[in-house]
Symmetry: C2
Subunit: 492 residues, 2 copies
Amino acid sequence: MSKEITSRQQDYSQWYNDLVIKGNLADYSAVRGCMVIKPYGFSLWEKMQAQLDRMFKDTGHENAYFPLFVPKSLFEAEEKNAEGFAKECAVVTHYRLISDPSAKGRLMVDPEAKLEEELIIRPTSEAIIWNTYKNWIQSYRDLPLLINQWANVVRWEMRTRLFLRTAEFLWQEGHTAHATGEEAVKEAELMLDIYAEFAEKYMALPVIRGVKTESERFAGAIDTYCIEALMQDGKALQAGTSHFLGQNFARAFDVKFSDKDNKLDYVWATSWGVSTRLVGALVMAHSDDDGLIMPPKIAPIQVVIVPIYKGNDKKDLLDGKGQELASQLKSRGISVKFDQNDNARPGWKFAEYELKGVPLRIAMGLRDIESGTVEVVRRDTREKMVMSLEGLTEKIITLLDNIQENIYQKALTYRDSRITKADNWAEFVRLLDEKGGFISAHWDGTPETEQTIQEKTKATIRCIPLNNPLEEGNCIFSGKPSQQRVLFARAY
Amino acid sequence: MSKEITSRQQDYSQWYNDLVIKGNLADYSAVRGCMVIKPYGFSLWEKMQAQLDRMFKDTGHENAYFPLFVPKSLFEAEEKNAEGFAKECAVVTHYRLISDPSAKGRLMVDPEAKLEEELIIRPTSEAIIWNTYKNWIQSYRDLPLLINQWANVVRWEMRTRLFLRTAEFLWQEGHTAHATGEEAVKEAELMLDIYAEFAEKYMALPVIRGVKTESERFAGAIDTYCIEALMQDGKALQAGTSHFLGQNFARAFDVKFSDKDNKLDYVWATSWGVSTRLVGALVMAHSDDDGLIMPPKIAPIQVVIVPIYKGNDKKDLLDGKGQELASQLKSRGISVKFDQNDNARPGWKFAEYELKGVPLRIAMGLRDIESGTVEVVRRDTREKMVMSLEGLTEKIITLLDNIQENIYQKALTYRDSRITKADNWAEFVRLLDEKGGFISAHWDGTPETEQTIQEKTKATIRCIPLNNPLEEGNCIFSGKPSQQRVLFARAY
């Protein structure tokens, strides 16, 4: 009973859905635009969370929790932020259901239980958090305030896709407060670096660090920094953002502090977030037509051991040896599954763990035990190796490191081969259609040109890379003078 | 600037609020009935979560995530459950805001963006989860399904209290599916045992395991098991519940499985949960008039080191020694804070960490360094000890164990002294008013008597203890025959 996966070439988008659903990462739900994250997918998210949380805490951040609801009057206080999110808000208007007199067993909203003020389900928490910071910050001694929250948020998206864009999603949102603008900018940059390090070292996902143009900025930000990744179909994916918010939210919520000279000033802010979208990025960046490919550092299962039973012949011996090997690996911090389920054949298991992207598979039969060896197969290269049981743990650790590095290098080579310069409009359009990836091109710096290019090609400016070299040139579209290239792409 | 705490005798309820607010566990929010969990309070919850999560995983449970929203038609499918929660539901009716034409800068709900079907914010997730399980369970091979979710839920309570009862709260909810009723009952009992072990071993909170009467049962359950704790004001607090749901939800959502003989039957269910309410229980069970008292096993900070500077004299030496001690303790897994803040005096810090309930405080001055000693103070007993720096780590580990045990024994002695038998109505009422605690008394088994007793005394039946001895007697209120005593109390 092998599960059919659509190939990438056949239908990239269906391939992605097949991997998510058949790889047991997530499932559709009864709620429009919301998904169920299944145990295998959730354990992947837990691994990502644990690592990110460590990195946040190592840089002095603490976790806290703020309400799910934002009263409308707070929601609208920072005007640009409100405007940006108003069109996709879930709104709570009532707090009670009563029996529906016209239909037995049915309930209806109690018209008597209307809220005086509507509550918005947080699409992001700047408003509720800055309204709270107002009570926490009086003096420079209260700064910096470095807080992160792991939470669910809701944005009523019209077109949703598993992990990549869902109405409800899980994320972390950092919200920090500082005494100076410079310090806040530094914080926003630091968090971008942490996201980039996480993406590259743990997810094996190469990213470009950059800054967004005005029209792609977070609503209410002065600057939005981002990391941009490239998927196998040549489309870009924004994998994380970090915002320098200036004093916008401090002004909206009247958050002032007295500095060392007792002078009052508004507080400076940042916010930054990554979400379960990263799971989608992971799937699309590394997987192949046989299933998922998990980078060892965040794989829920790093090694699976499959015993090859011959009926009940010496089953105990095989089970004993398997348990022993599993314990050895576990004692070194490797997450191992020893699959003793005897309802499924080895071949079915092999396909199943390939589909789930387990980095290393160890098969172990009676003959192996006699010869003191096992068969080890890498998921990324399919390489099959016969290895001695002696010293196996060390070799497995090295192999996992090699796989992590190989997956990263592969993604990096692919990505780098798809950053292409275009110097005229025809080339730009041709490259987008034929090659995809990032197109590095001159742009005249106006939102109007940016918008026209998007309308004509569906490509957006993904970012202006950090430390971008200056270079005289002419806008790919308007021909007007430009000082630097920016990165265009079609994107998720 | 010491923070005033109301004493327990003066006003128990204000004492509790003072501890929560001034101890930096939580804060009020701008949203009716919702609170903000501050970093110190959240780190306590994280410690509790981490331990519970370990215990769930060690018993074969996996985490997953289901939608925040429950469509009304699913919500009403299990009739008793729906009826139980209908009167306290937050309901999403719209998905967009637009500019309010009558007020510049204001937003209003877009009447055009009304949902076809209202969405209830989960007060508990049986409905959405069993609607999903329908697709996951076909055969006995898919069972048992042992899933847990960490999530926020909303119950529109009219009277709220920080941690103890809030409109939104954080919790975990386990939802399991089984092939037989016996297996499901076993699961519900197992999870109750895990909750009890967690409460007693980690929170140092003695609990009584029991089963609820029909009127106190979870809406939709066949049986509700519970753990009940006693607070210092003699009121009981339900600290966790585990429900045997029978086939009620399987019937409501048509979840059937084929057994080994290919016979179709409805699936059996349990659900179980504990919440941030446990933080409130912890505060009320152990703290005193000077502040919180944290059990070492879940204390966010187990040991604080306070250097006693004499101006800048040998500050570096003191800082070096403090760092060294902190590293030693950390290397043994102890969570330590070395408080080098020189804006605050030692006396202020002592009061602050007492308020925060840090189990051990180490003070270290220049004279201590000369004599190779430190001053160690226990938060629970206030005992002051001068200890040699040599071998200090081992002694600290032992001390933390002693404190954990002492806090538990103190709570146990108090609790046990407040389980009192009452054999007539006058005694029952007098005990409730004068002594509080659990009153062990006969009850005739009818919901009517239970309700009348509650109306007359505000006491409810907290539980029928597990393994309750049978004993002939007469109902405390009606005089009718009864076979066992049950535990009454006024409760949170």
